[in-house]
C-alpha cells in the first residue's frame, strides 16, 4: 500500500543544524548527518534540509555536509536554500542529494524549473512556495527572499505554472500559519492540491497530530512537513504516524 509521508525539516547554517528560538538567537544543534539519522530511526520518510545561509560564497561548505549526509542517510533527502542555477543542481545532486528545492530563483527565472527537469528529471525538482493570504481575502500571493517580498502573483496560478514547467513536487508553506501551531492552512492546501496533479507537501502551522491528519485528509496533501515540533521533541514522528494510522491513513511504521 502506498503511504503518506511525514517529513521533518532541518535548518542548516554554516554546515550545522540550527533552530532559532526567536529566529535571531540561533542555537547550534549539531551535525546535519547525525540529526537526519536520528529522524530516520524515528521513522521519517525523508528529510528536507533548508540551508538558511547558502550563497555562492559558501557552496563548498554546503557540498561538504551534503556529502556527509549522503554517506550516512539511507532515506531520500532534499536540499534547499540558495540554489540558483542548473550547475548548482548538478553539484548538489552529484554529492548524493535526491531532490533540490527552489523558491526565489524559480520565481525570478521560471526557466530554471524546466531546464533542471529536462536535465535531471522532474522527480528531483521541488518548487517551494511561500504563500500569504491577500488583505482582501480573495486568495494567496507568493513571496520571495524568505517571505520578505510580495510578488503580487497568485499562489494557485504559480503552482499550476510550476507543474507545467516540470516541477515534480510542491513544498507549500503558509506564511500565515507558520509558527502558530494552530494547524496547516487547509484552505490554501486544498486550493493548490485541487489545481495540480503532482504531490504537494503541506508546511507551516503543525502543532498537534490532528493537524497532520487534516492536511492529508481535508487538504489533499501527499506529505506533511514540520520543523520545530519535531526538533524540540514536542511530538515524535512515531507519535504522529501512530495517530495517522489509527485514523485510517496509510503510513510506514
Amino acid at each position: 500500500m502506498h503511504t503518506k509521508r511525514v517529513i521533518p525539516c532541518l535548518d542548516i547554517k554554516d554546515g550545522r543544524v540550527v533552530k532559532g528560538v526567536q529566529f535571531v538567537n540561533l542555537k547550534d544543534a549539531g551535525e546535519p548527518a547525525q540529526a537526519a539519522q536520528a529522524y530516520d530511526r524515528e521513522g521519517a520518510d525523508e528529510v528536507v534540509f533548508l540551508d538558511i545561509t547558502a550563497s555562492a560564497d559558501n557552496r563548498s561548505t554546503q557540498l561538504q555536509w551534503v556529502r556527509q549526509v549522503a554517506s550516512r542517510l539511507f532515506i531520500p533527502f532534499t536540499v534547499g536554500g540558495g540554489i540558483r542555477t542548473v550547475e548548482d543542481f548538478r553539484l548538489i545532486l552529484r554529492e548524493g542529494a535526491d531532490k533540490i528545492a527552489v523558491n526565489s530563483a524559480a520565481i525570478t527565472n521560471p526557466g530554471l524549473i524546466s531546464q533542471a527537469a529536462d536535465k535531471f528529471g522532474s522527480q528531483c525538482v521541488v518548487v517551494a512556495i511561500d504563500a500569504k493570504k491577500r488583505a482582501d481575502g480573495s486568495g494567496w500571493n507568493i513571496y520571495k527572499n524568505g517571505g520578505r517580498v510580495d510578488m503580487g502573483i497568485d499562489a494557485v496560478q504559480w503552482a499550476v505554472q510550476a507543474e507545467k514547467l516540470g516541477a515534480g513536487e510542491l513544498l507549500l508553506t503558509s506564511m500565515d500559519c507558520d509558527g502558530t501551531k494552530e494547524g496547516y492552512d487547509l484552505e490554501l492546501t486544498k486550493a493548490v492540491t485541487d489545481a495540480v496533479g503532482i504531490p504537494v507537501i503541506a508546511s507551516g502551522g503543525a502543532g498537534k497530530p490532528e493537524h497532520f491528519y487534516e492536511a492529508l485528509e481535508r487538504g489533499g496533501a501527499e506529505a506533511v512537513l514540520a520543523a520545530s515540533l519535531f526538533h524540540y521533541k514536542e511530538l515524535t514522528i512515531r507519535q504522529v504516524k501512530e495517530y495517522l494510522r489509527q485514523r485510517g491513513i496509510s503510513v510506514r511504521l
Partner: protein
C-alpha cells in the same frame, strides 16, 4: 568486490555509499575486465529508458552486460536498471532494451486515481520466494520513484509486487539476475538488508 556500472546515471553515488556503509568493497567502473572480475555487478539508473540505452551503447556496455548475464555473474538492476533488462519500454518506443529478461515496461495507469510518478514508500508482497528478500517480512516498506512499471511475461520470476493503481512487478529473479523497481539504497534498514543479501549471494 561489487562493481557498479558507470554510465552517467544519476543515482550511482547513493548506490555506492549504501554498499560502502555495509563495509563492502565497491568500485564504480565501465571497464569490462573490472566488471568480469567483480563478485557482483550493479546496474543503477534514473531517467529515461531511451537515453540510458543510448549511453550503454556509447560505452560499449550492451554486449558486456549480456555476457555477464550468460556467465551467471550475480547481477542487480535498480529502478531504471530493472527496466533496461527487458526488451522494450512504452517510454521510448522503438528502442531495444537489453532483452535479458522477458516482459513489458508500461506507463502507470492514468485512470486509477493515483499520482504519476509514484513517489514514496509502498509495501511489498512476495508471490514467490526470492533470495534478495531472505529475512524481510511480507509488507515491508521500500521507496519508489517511477512513472513506468514492469509486467514480466512469466510470473514465476516475480519475487515482489506492490499495488499502485495496478499490480507493479517490483522485483524479479532469474538465475543470478536480480532487479528491483524500488530504490534499496534509499529504503532505510529494509533496503540495506536487501543489498546485504545481494552481497551475500555475490560472495558465494
Amino acid at each position: 568486490m561489487i562493481a557498479i556500472i558507470d554510465y552517467d546515471a544519476g543515482n550511482i553515488k547513493s548506490v555506492e555509499k549504501a554498499f560502502l556503509s555495509l563495509g563492502q568493497e565497491t568500485v564504480v567502473t565501465r571497464e569490462p575486465q573490472a566488471l568480469f572480475r567483480a563478485d557482483g555487478v550493479v546496474l543503477p539508473g534514473v531517467g529515461a529508458f531511451g537515453d540510458a540505452m543510448e549511453k550503454l551503447h556509447r560505452f560499449g556496455l550492451v554486449p558486456v552486460i549480456r555476457q555477464l548475464a550468460r556467465e551467471e555473474k550475480p547481477f542487480l538492476g535498480i529502478c531504471l536498471g530493472l527496466q533496461l533488462l527487458f526488451e522494450s519500454s512504452q517510454e521510448s518506443p522503438g528502442v531495444e532494451g537489453l532483452g535479458i529478461l522477458e516482459g513489458q515496461v508500461l506507463r502507470l495507469p492514468e485512470d486509477q486515481g493515483v499520482k504519476i510518478p509514484q513517489i514514496g514508500w509502498n509495501s511489498l508482497h512476495f508471490p514467490n520466494p526470492g533470495r534478495l528478500f531472505c529475512g524481510i517480512p511480507e509488507g515491508a516498506y521500500v521507496y519508489f520513484v517511477h512513472s513506468y512499471y514492469l509486467r514480466a511475461k512469466e510470473e514465476r520470476i516475480v519475487t515482489a509486487t506492490a499495488e499502485y493503481g495496478t499490480c507493479v512487478h517490483a522485483s524479479v529473479e532469474q538465475g543470478n539476475v536480480f532487479a528491483c523497481q524500488f530504490h534499496p539504497e534509499k529504503s532505510s534498514e529494509t533496503g540495506l538488508a536487501i543489498l546485504r543479501n545481494f552481497v551475500g549471494i555475490a560472495a558465494r
